[in-house]
Symmetry: C2
Subunit: 245 residues, 2 copies
DNA sequence: CAGTGGTCTAGACCACAGT
DNA sequence: CTGTGGTCTAGACCACTGA
């Protein structure tokens, strides 16, 4: 055993088990070691072990039930709730090639939906980024991001066609801490249709997103529209429903 | 204060705090009582209190940070990761009136997508339920559910226009334990359009769902199509998820 | 029945917030 | 600094699983 990271023990246990599952050390339907075995192996008490198992459960990797050890539910976290990882990382995990074609990066006054989402006044400036995102070279999504001015101004030094904007911002001290997504469907506008190479009026899966940084401040509002033939969102929720309520 | 249910203490704490938040006892941005205050109030140790707070965090109701008490993030328990609530319950929580108009309940051989999702042979029988779901009397969603035969046959004794199918099945020993959702967009078919009272070709938000019972067996496959003007899905996901202790 | 996970307690130490 | 939440331990009891 190496690794005496600064990671909390429960995170270390979760990370190790997650790797084993992704590496297919266990088959689907197979049981993980018992909790007490994991306690022994990692030299921790039951608390951190159970916290790690809860994490993997929330990721859709395992299923928990009383009286018997955890069971592997899926090998890849990609198809599960981690769909809400940034586009570039998501594509990489799925073995696809992600690309970007930037249409514009503009500093202007906030649009009305952005004002509401970012809690800004009509006179406040924001930075709008309009990009077409490509999967294996094919247009798969059109992304309209709006950043608050202090964050958006960082983007003028960044080649929005290369690399991950998420990683770039993280390097500048802006971390995505939590996101809220609203999913619905819209008909493709003329602009959408032209940039995605589809017919106007085609159904698109829309994700409207507000992102908060580590201090809980909203700094991004985005309207992403996906071609449903190419991208779908997958969500797993493993949870026993409470009788009451 | 009533309820000394057989609910676990952490569930009781979570339920009570959830009600207070929905009831707007705390404003958005306001702090909840400290953990030790909650321990005193509910007469429990920190473990259950922290587990309850983790639940509310996963539901997107509160935000946690180190060194200061939990902060209210939202008043609405919308469709979050942990609470992908059945239609009827979701409507009730949001103060809407849910209704159903059953088009057909039929026992027949499984369609191809259902065969795949339910892991059945082409010769196996299933029970299909086609319903229009109403919100405040207006058609909001068209639901095509397919149940494995053993579960579906229970439904012939059930008035699918009244009450909650989820509750009914739970009463017969079939519990929804985990679900997987795939979200995308489709153009309304002629059948969709007619039943929802919209134009054919209109964009609809589609949710394809496979549900497992408490033994991990898939027993339902559903294709639900929502009118995006009336219903959208809201999902909150935060960086670190950490129940337990 | 023995073993397992689900829950809970009563302590403890650390990192961080606000004063 | 004090108080807060984040983490951890070492016990314990109960409900369920499976031989």
């Amino acid at each position: 055993m190496a690794s005496s990271d600064s990671l909390p023990r429960h995170a270390h246990v979760a990370s190790e088990l997650r790797q084993r599952i992704i590496r297919r050390d266990y088959l689907i339907g197979e049981s993980l070691p018992t909790e007490s075995a994991l306690c022994t192996e990692f030299g921790v008490s039951r608390g951190p072990v159970r916290q790690a198992l809860a994490t993997l459960k929330n990721e859709g990797l395992i299923r928990l039930s009383q009286g018997k050890p955890a069971v592997v539910r899926s090998h890849d976290a990609t198809q599960t709730l981690d769909t809400f990882t940034p586009f570039t990382q998501w594509a990489q995990r799925n073995g696809r090639t992600a690309g970007s074609r930037t249409v514009e990066v503009a500093r202007r006054r906030a649009s009305e939906p952005a004002q509401v989402a970012l809690d800004l006044a009509a006179t406040d400036f924001v930075v709008d980024v309009l990009r077409v995102r490509l999967l294996d070279g094919e247009p798969a999504m059109i992304e309209r991001s709006t950043f608050i001015d202090s964050v958006g101004s960082l983007l003028f030094d960044f080649d929005t066609d290369s690399g991950s904007m998420t990683d770039y911002l993280a390097g500048r001290g802006v971390y995505f801490d939590s996101m809220e997504h609203i999913l619905d469907a819209v008909a493709a506008s003329d602009v959408d249709a032209e940039n995605l190479g589809i017919a106007a009026g085609s159904p698109l899966l829309r994700e409207r997103r507000t992102s908060r940084d580590q201090n809980g401040r909203v700094f991004e509002y985005a309207d992403d529209r996906y071609r449903p033939e190419l991208v779908a969102f997958s969500i797993v929720n493993a949870k026993t429903i409470d009788p009451r309520m």
